[in-house]
Amino acid sequence: MLARPGLPDFEYMKAESPQDVFRLLEERGGEVKLLMGGTDLFVQMRDGNESAGILLDLKYLPGMKDISYTKKKGIKIGAAVTLNQLSAHPDVTNHFQILSQSADTVGNYQLRNRATLGGNLCNASPSADMAPAALVLEGEVSLSGPDGERVMALDQFWVGPGKTALKEYEFMTAVCFPNPPSGAVGRYLKLGRSKMGDLAIVGVAVLGYPDPEVPAGIRFRIGINSTAPTVYRVPQVEELLAKAPLSDDILRQASGEAMKVSAPIEDVRATVLYQKKMVNNLTFKGLKEVWSQLINS
């Protein structure tokens, strides 16, 4: 029995090969919605913001749920790996701990059993929780299209809210992260309206690692979400931090610079001023925590 006839009619299909996907996209392009975990898409469909003639499930394509790690190349995570699988995987917790931290902040446990890494990144939400860590880890996405696979750095992938560099007939198959520099420590700090289960008002990922080449002795990478059309890094702030011996004052100055770069809009969750101040606070807190961990290790 159909309890909710309000939802427009659609077909559900499981793609078995990439060719299935390309063919359907070519034949019925506008009607097809690519499905990963569905934790956002289904809600949008229910609310009438999205519709589909065909829901094409990509999760069963070969390799989409695989995780592989090598010391030389780093980690390759299939786009359909769920956030809970990601968070608990030993290769992730051992070498890419900031990904686990980030995954654990998304929604709730039940939701994370469906929500996927690929879905979180392809959704291109400015508040995507996986994105700041994925940026500071300098990830690359593998995109599959009718002309073959191509690889793209994540900082080129998001082009606006909900918009990616994916071409018409392409889909994401995996995300690769090189091994972080030796001794790296990472922290993702997320501010939501409640401690768990909410979207980020501001999220800041900080990755720090020893680098004797720079005056600071430590290099930082900083990724920030929810406060611009896309998730972004702040290279000018990262440079400023590398240039002088570290102190609380320098960290404060750097956090202030990050606040200046941030460009939030007022939304249902917070005002512009609040978000900017929280960029300042969370950046400082993240830097301080990572710095302390590095000097104590």
Binding site: L2, D9, F10, E11, F42, V43, N108, Q110, N113, G197
Partner: protein
């Protein structure tokens, strides 16, 4: 031609073959097609946790799945836990400690906790709070639920 999708699914140990409209939510399939009304539907946005069921042993929101997606899989609903005459130790603990008032959220909390307690036999209070953070309860204030989980943990792992 009517647009239907044939599914085979095992629910609480019983195999079912059904032909469904693809837009049937799993929660509606369980309630209306199979008559298993223990699974409750609250927010329908993946927030409240009332509709939680186990999909191949893992807790998921049945309001965020369409029925065709569970083709070939196993589902456990609250009806699969215990019976009125023979309650599951987790249900027993909820009764014992008054961990429910209206009871609307209870099936989702039970199904969330079942695999959790198997993996975490001795959770701390903080861990229990985190484990049920994806389930909203508007009656109890959660304290008695936490008491129930502690009691269940003791009884399930003597």
């Amino acid at each position: 031609m009517e647009n239907t999708f044939a599914i085979s699914v095992t629910v609480n140990g019983t195999p079912y073959q059904r032909s469904v409209d693809p837009r049937t939510l799993l929660s509606d399939f369980l309630r209306y097609d199979l008559g298993l009304t223990g699974t409750h539907v609250g927010c329908e946005h993946g927030v409240c946790g009332a509709c939680t069921v186990l999909l191949d042993g893992e807790p998921v929101r049945s309001c965020l799945l369409f029925a065709p997606q569970v083709d070939g899989h196993e589902i456990l609903t609250v009806e699969g836990l215990g019976t009125l005459d023979d309650l599951h130790p987790l249900q027993e603990a909820f009764r014992e400690t008054h961990a429910l008032q209206c009871g609307f959220c209870t099936p989702g909390i039970l199904t969330t906790l079942l695999p959790y307690l198997e993996e975490n036999p001795n959770p701390t209070e903080e861990e229990i709070r985190e484990a049920i953070s994806g389930n909203l309860c508007r009656c109890t204030g959660y304290q008695h639920i936490i008491d129930a989980v502690k009691l269940a943990a003791e009884n399930m792992n003597p």
